[in-house]
């Protein structure tokens, strides 16, 4: 547990809405764990980030991925499927963070082995609280595999 608290955790946010990127950044800034957030706009960018392709040559390996479902070019479902197929990243926890409450999306996400599914709350305070509890859960409660960069 200490290993997470002792260093800055890396979070990758895959989100095309700049408003949500900013809100998430704000919420995490006030969190207890020292963290670094990288944001990309769609699935193609996310996979390039993970594979350190092109402009992402020096990208850090994320400890946690926050993934929206409805994204341009390559959506969250496809991205999740590819992450799970890649032996390099298949162990990175993925949290689906989306506005969709559709049962179809929920079931499909878990089938694709999402670690959890969260609906973005409408209310600002609620949203902030949820982002912080994601951070709290994944970086102070849960035990993650040791980093291997």
């Amino acid at each position: 547990m200490e290993q997470h608290l002792n260093r800055c955790v890396e979070i990758l946010l895959v989100e095309d809405n700049p408003g949500d990127v900013e809100l998430t950044t704000l919420a995490l800034k006030e969190g207890k764990v020292s963290n670094h957030l990288s944001a990309v706009e769609d699935g193609i960018e996310a996979l390039a980030f993970l594979r350190r392709e092109g402009a992402y040559r020096d990208a850090p390996r994320p400890d946690l991925i926050l993934l929206d479902l409805n994204l341009p070019r390559k959506d969250g479902r496809e991205t999740l499927a590819e992450i799970r197929l890649d032996s390099e990243f298949c162990d990175i926890p993925v949290v689906i963070l989306t506005t969709s409450e559709s049962q179809l999306d929920i079931v499909e996400s878990y089938k694709l082995k999402a670690n959890c599914y969260i609906k973005k709350p409408v209310d600002l305070d609620h949203f902030m609280a949820i982002v912080r509890s994601i951070e709290d859960f994944w970086f102070t409660i849960v035990k993650l595999p040791a980093r291997r960069d």
Binding site: N17, G19, L23, T99, S100, V122, L124, D125, F127
Partner: protein, 556 residues
């Protein structure tokens, strides 16, 4: 004398039988010729050689029947002559038929059709019918004469009895009398029955032709034995076309297996088919959906009626599609609208949080209005989503104990109930068939409203139920501010409000939801009120026991 009349009496009885035999043979010939005709048509259309065998057999039977009739009438030369003529015409007809078959074989349907309609063919058919009728009439005349004679010989027998002075003949006379009486009574009964049967048959035939539904009798061999004219009206095929092909030929390829299975099941179990649907081909190449009901008979025969439900099905499907589209639209629209709105509201709230007091008072007020507007719109969209989900999500219906339902809705309202010091009572509660979650929401909205629109004194709410046929009629009565009766309908319309948001906050979704829930349970909801004197909401829900009980009988 007596001996002679007795003999006369006995032979009369034989003759009656004899006449009936002649008539029966003529009928047989006639029906076999009809079968020949339909086999010819069958062959003409499908070209299957199986028809030729039937044709030859029925043709032979027709000829046989005519010649037997002729042999039976040797005692009446005029009828014999007529039947001899009939015999030769039947022969001619059959040879024409064979000729037609040859042409159809060699040159195809079109060439054969010409031959089929030639004057000779038509004339021969016509003459055969005429001759048959004439023979029939003549023999019926003979039959009537014989009946008269039968009565006469009865009288003769009576006379012989009374005039007999020989005591030894007493017994014999008694025997004659009884025999004669029996014979006549039997004959009269037979005639009356025949007339009645004819009349009933006639009536049945009329209904058969008149019926809008498709009526038919089918045989174990998989052919229709008889179909009503409604078949032709609905499916375009002529009656003959329907009779000369196995009925499965007309069934949609995808429905054949199910149809066959249903027919087999019916034949095996002897059970009625109460509702079975399949698609039948129409002459124009389209498919019509028929809904069947049929009763099996021993030996594989079936009486069946069908109704063309194609149009109903199409309309129902179109309506379903429309509704689904509409629900989907509401869902998608509200979901996608929510996304940008979340941004407006969130950043306005952020602005309010971070900069309140740093700008001037007016800026604070403006920010407040913007946040308020966005939040309100969010609730509207949320409500719209809830409303549209009522249509798209069908939870399973089960027997719901209403006491539990109401208790659950009161639990959800706990805070307002205790804050308002509401006094809520209820009568004995039954069980209804419904979606428990929706029913909880229904009561929660109604009780919530009763508390929300309370007058000066603490709310007093009473819930009761009484039996109304197969339903329960529920009422939720309060002592609140009441509603002007002129708005009795408007209150159930989505987002319609009777008060300012300042006086009573809310979007105006509650009663629209209630209405939709009740209607989805097959009931209706209404309101009775007088301004300032409280209101009563009345609605019915289906009882979980369907028996019509007296009030209170089904309370638990």
């Amino acid at each position: 004398m007596s001996y002679a009349s007795t003999r006369e009496l006995l032979s009369t009885r034989d003759w009656l039988r004899h006449s009936e035999l002649v008539l029966r043979r003529i009928d047989e010939a006639s029906s076999n010729l009809l079968k020949v005709d339909s086999a010819v048509r069958g062959y003409a259309i499908k070209g299957q050689t199986a028809y030729l065998a039937t044709l030859e057999r029925d043709g032979y039977l027709a000829q046989q029947a005519v010649s037997e009739a002729k042999n039976l009438t040797v005692d009446r030369p005029s009828l014999t002559t007529k039947l001899a003529r009939l015999e030769s015409m039947v022969k001619d007809r059959l040879s024409l038929v064979r000729q037609y078959i040859q042409v159809r074989k060699a040159k195809g349907l079109a060439a054969a059709a010409v031959l089929h309609k030639t004057e000779v063919t038509l004339k021969i058919r016509e003459q055969i019918t005429e001759l048959e009728d004439s023979c029939r009439n003549q023999e019926q005349g003979v039959l009537a004469g014989r009946e008269q004679r039968a009565s006469a010989s009865l009288r003769a027998a009576m006379v012989s009895f009374w005039s007999s002075t020989v005591a030894g003949l007493f017994l014999l006379g008694g025997f004659y009398l009884i025999a004669a009486k029996l014979l006549v009574a039997q004959r009269q009964l037979h005639l009356a029955e025949g007339r009645r049967a004819n009349l009933a048959e006639d009536e049945r035939d009329r209904f058969f032709s008149l019926s809008l539904d498709l009526l038919c009798i089918s045989n174990a061999d998989g052919y229709f034995k008889r179909v009503s004219p409604a078949f032709t009206r609905t499916l375009g095929w002529s009656v003959d076309q329907m009779l000369t092909r196995p009925f499965l030929d007309f069934v949609h390829p995808d429905d054949k297996v199910a149809t066959k299975a249903e027919v087999d099941r019916q034949v095996q179990t002897g059970e009625e088919v109460l509702q079975f649907e399949n698609r039948y081909s129409h002459l124009d190449g389209s498919w019509r959906t028929l809904s069947w009901r049929s009763v099996p008979q021993p030996g594989g025969m079936m009486y069946a009626t069908a109704r063309d439900v194609t149009e109903n099905k199409r309309i129902a499907r179109a309506l379903d599609d429309k509704n689904r589209d509409l629900e989907q639209f509401a869902h998608v629209a509200s979901h996608d609208l929510q996304e940008p709105l979340r941004m407006v509201a969130s950043f306005m709230q952020l602005l309010e949080k971070k900069y309140k007091g740093q700008l001037d008072e007016q800026a604070d007020r403006w920010i407040h209005h913007a946040v308020d507007g966005a939040t309100r719109m969010q609730s509207l969209i949320q409500d719209l989503l809830t409303y549209s989900r009522l249509g798209s999500q069908d939870n399973e219906c089960c027997a719901c104990k209403m006491e539990e339902v109401i208790a659950r809705s009161l639990q959800n309202l706990q805070l307002v109930v205790s804050e308002s010091l509401a006094d809520i009572t209820m009568g004995p509660m039954p069980a209804v068939t419904g979606d428990k979650i929706q029913l909880i929401s229904l009561f929660q909205n109604l009780i919530g409203n009763a508390i929300k629109y309370r007058g000066g004194s603490p709310p007093n709410i009473h819930i009761s139920a009484e039996r109304d046929g197969s339903d329960w009629l529920f009422s939720v009565r309060d002592n609140g501010i009441g509603i002007d009766p002129q708005f009795a309908e408007r209150i159930f319309v989505i987002f319609q409000r009777l008060h300012t948001r300042k006086a009573y906050p809310g979007t105006g979704i509650g009663l629209a939801l209630c209405k939709r829930i009740v209607e989805r349970h097959g009931g209706c909801i209404r309101m009775e009120s007088e301004l300032g004197h409280g209101s009563i909401f009345l609605f019915n829900l289906p009882a979980s026991d369907k028996e019509v009980g007296s009030n209170g009988a089904a309370f638990e």
